[in-house]
Symmetry: C2
Subunit: 419 residues, 2 copies
């Protein structure tokens, strides 16, 4: 129930921005999936030969299927194409805490536009998603790959991008000196040039302050200046669209997805549980489907880490204990009155109140135990006495009290008790 | 979008009766799935050896996983256990119109009770489901396997049950005489005894009339009389719970799932498209999980044929054409006002109105073509003139007209236009 609730929230937020749902088959031809996520990822793919001698595999993410889907249908769909996709993926890896061989991904992407407006709205979606889930304190860390690329370009370090980013990724863990040492060792550049990358990565301050320093650092690099202009536009929109300023930080050290993202990058940390890692991440990419089509398909999107978010919500005491989606249990005591019990269930549902009718005429103790276990909020009780008097007992299961109510007043009474 | 909408309806109806969602993994150990649905079904299972040398298979229905799940967790969950499960299943068969190798099942079941009350509510769920989908004319055909078993028992035909039911299943197609001939050929019984089975199967009339004739036919058979009592209780509840009488028929010829169902049986035909077959079927079974546990787990449930229902809705013109879940498109004309466009999108969403912001400042023609194609209902338009006057144009895309509205009145205007 908690997972379904979280998926509901994600869907409603995605839909409110005009993202439409798609689904793709769990099985794709192996050639569609393999070679897309690197060797490590290929090893984890569940792959087999089916009854028709087809070499097939189960999707390991929703991005490769989206690329295949977009390449196939983009002419028909037109751009911009905004889709969300909430579905399981499979990886044959060793399961660990919060890591499973089957898990849900919860992606949304805007495809077919290079406009920074789509990047800004991606940030808005992440903000609304976390808000609607009920997270009060969170930080969305934003960066733009062009800023880092601009600096590397300015210092003739572009050929070493991958090595430098790999080293940079360890900054939090191993510290400045060790990162510089690794950069020097991997690329052969002198420590001073490596230090300049660290100077930028370690910039702290408000987005405006950081942007001002970056202006100087990147002056003359076209790539870097474009990245800065996009970030500036993004923070301007954050301010004028009423998003609390303290929630959005500019963090020039983050560089998710070494080869994949090319522009804006997003990470989301929970204020009360940062150590669980980013719960919603994404970014802009230049060409989604280059392996499937010659058409250029740029896009931007992000993905809610559903299982990680659920784990966090459990840890923060944000998930409900009830295992029934219905708030009312209609108990059954006198099987000869079955039609009255069933009709009461129908009357409640007709008024929009979920109600389960206990299916057997058993003792009160057994039925109350069931009601408690499942987490019903109210129980309706009637036996021979009540039927002869035309009343029902409404028991408030949380407070333990009970009152007799004439049949005609049951619905409004329950509506007010559930409020 | 149409599929997601249908799933939403199913979920809300199931939830209103207290059914809770569960999910199980797509992959189970092959030994869990194989040998449960017969040889034909085993052949269709996608099965392979995974990276950990495990013999695994993709589920071919949601019933076997439910049996495994219930056997494993029923002690913890307690009974009655009401669950729904809406998820894809896979069968390596030849695809045909409305038949796919991957398709969704949409099951609900009440487990752990033999009470007829659960059978009656299963019928109610089917009724509410079809109503909420918006089907005006439909018939739920009900039967009880005990009625047929009672008759076979009375005439010493029980050992021939399977052969007799197989022949009976063809009644609509090949007619009375051919069915009798097949029964005689397969079982060696004399044509008169075969004819008695046909007499019962061909009974026509209101449930009350049919039940009255059956009373005579089954007098003395304990099984048959129990079946009749259950059916009588069910039709009594239908009448006293306000379900239109003409929707529920008693059809003693139906015998879905030869070996599986043991009590009440349901089939649902659409009044305007009966030839598409049953869109929601199910029944009562004595022991769900006998292959996994020694605990007796009786239950009753049914399954919405999601893909078939979608096909029917398309044929009946009941699916919407729009491919966007948002009713409003905020167009963009002057990139220097990007914050105003984005803020308008946010203001609409804050009032509960889904809105997509077009991400690029392009010509009106291109944006209107996009709006038409996606099926937006309203477009908001503002350029330099409108911003200087503090107004927005609201274009009604269906009617083709347009009016200028002060910014402060946009939300109420749009709310009233969307009503």
């Amino acid at each position: 129930m908690a997972r379904e609730h979280l998926i509901d929230i994600a869907r409603s937020v995605y839909r409110s921005y005009g993202f439409a749902p798609i689904d793709t088959p769990a099985l794709e031809y192996a050639e569609v999936l393999l070679g897309k996520g690197g060797e490590e990822s290929d090893k984890q793919v569940f792959r087999f030969t089916d009854q028709g001698d087809r070499d097939v595999a189960m999707r390991f993410d929703l991005t490769v299927p989206l690329a295949r889907f977009a390449a196939q249908y983009v002419q028909e769909l037109g751009v911009p194409f905004r889709r969300y996709h909430i579905a399981p993926v499979w990886r044959g890896e060793r399961p660990a805490r919060g890591r499973f061989r089957e898990f849900m991904q919860c992606d949304f992407d805007t495809i077919g536009t290079t406009s920074n407006s789509a990047d800004i709205e991606t940030l808005f979606v992440i903000n609304d998603l976390l808000e609607k889930i009920g997270i009060e304190r969170f930080t969305i860390r934003v960066n733009n790959r062009r800023v880092l690329n601009g600096l590397l370009e300015k210092h003739d370090l572009l050929p070493h991008t991958v090595s430098i980013l790999r080293a940079l990724d360890k900054l939090d863990k191993i510290g400045r000196e060790a990162v510089i040492a690794e950069m020097v060792e991997r690329t052969g550049i002198d420590p001073q040039r490596a230090g300049r990358v660290l100077d930028m990565a370690e910039l702290k301050g408000t987005p405006e302050e950081v942007l001002a320093v970056l202006d100087g650092m990147l002056a003359g690099s076209q790539t870097g200046e474009l990245g800065l202009a996009n970030l500036r536009e993004l923070f301007s929109a954050v301010n004028s669209c009423g998003i609390p300023k303290e929630r959005i930080s500019l963090d020039v050290a983050i560089a998710r997805g070494l080869d994949y993202y090319t522009g804006t990058i997003y990470e989301t940390l929970l204020g009360d549980l940062p150590e669980i890692g980013s719960v919603c991440s994404g970014g802009r990419y230049d060409n989604l489907a280059e392996l499937f089509t010659s058409q250029q398909l740029p896009g931007v999107g992000a993905s809610l880490g559903l299982d990680r978010m659920l784990a966090a919500m459990e840890e923060l005491g944000m998930t409900q204990k009830a295992t029934t989606p219905a708030p009312v249990l209609v108990t059954m005591f006198d099987a000869s009155h079955i039609n009255e019990y069933l009709a009461m269930g129908r009357a409640l549902r007709k008024s929009g109140i979920g109600a389960e009718v206990y299916p057997e005429a058993k003792g009160i103790g057994k039925q109350m135990k069931y009601a408690d276990k499942k987490g019903f909020r109210l129980a309706l009780i009637a036996g021979a006495d009540e039927f002869s008097q035309g009343v029902w007992q409404i028991r408030n299961l949380k407070e333990g009290n009970q009152l007799a109510v004439p049949a005609s007043e049951i619905i409004p009474q329950i509506q007010s008790l559930l409020k």
